[in-house]
Subunit: 113 residues, 2 copies
């Protein structure tokens, strides 16, 4: 396997963020974060994006206390880095970070199939 | 928003599993789990699958102590349920579960974009 810091072409970078809101029962706060996520979905290096909420599945090993799941796929670590540095991402942090209590992020890389 | 238990057509179901191995430094155990995941990738209701390892990104909010990330997309909750009940999935549990210490699963649903 190639080193993770220097992945081969043909890899796919998965960036998955779970947002835990300060006020998860507030429809206004949920709508506001969704507004911000929909803006962020326009960052051009994103190959595919999905905004989700916990599914109905409910087993012990399933973590479902987050409010929104934000899943992005990128063609490379460089594309993900460009997303992190994009002005739309800066605006998202500046305008919406007050809504959440915490985020948990999983960044993983592996071959395209 | 429609109820989560009865999602509208045009939704995408994200199933993301983080595997934490008992012996994460064992190349043999890592290879064996990867073998099992590659078998499981053949379950026919999977729309898209990605097998990853932690990327080089490293910030406080990024959780990177898992060994493998297993991300599957499905066209519906029914397709994900069929995957859970597929004989290949049973074989995976029976033959590979001894390798991991824990799994953390995020199932989320939201509109296709």
């Amino acid at each position: 396997m190639e080193t993770l810091s220097n992945p081969a072409p043909g890899q796919l970078f998965v960036h998955h963020v779970m947002f835990y809101l300060k006020n998860p029962k507030s429809e206004a706060d949920r709508a506001k974060l969704l507004e911000g996520l929909n803006k962020m979905a326009k960052i051009p290096t994103i190959r595919m994006v999905h905004i989700g909420t916990p599914a109905a599945t409910n087993r012990d090993v399933i973590e479902r206390s987050y409010t929104y799941s934000w899943l992005c796929l990128f063609d490379s670590p460089a594309d993900e880095e460009a997303y992190q540095k994009h002005p739309i991402h800066d605006d998202f942090r500046n305008n919406y970070a007050s809504l959440w209590d915490k985020v948990v992020i999983y960044d993983s890389i592996g071959p395209k199939r």
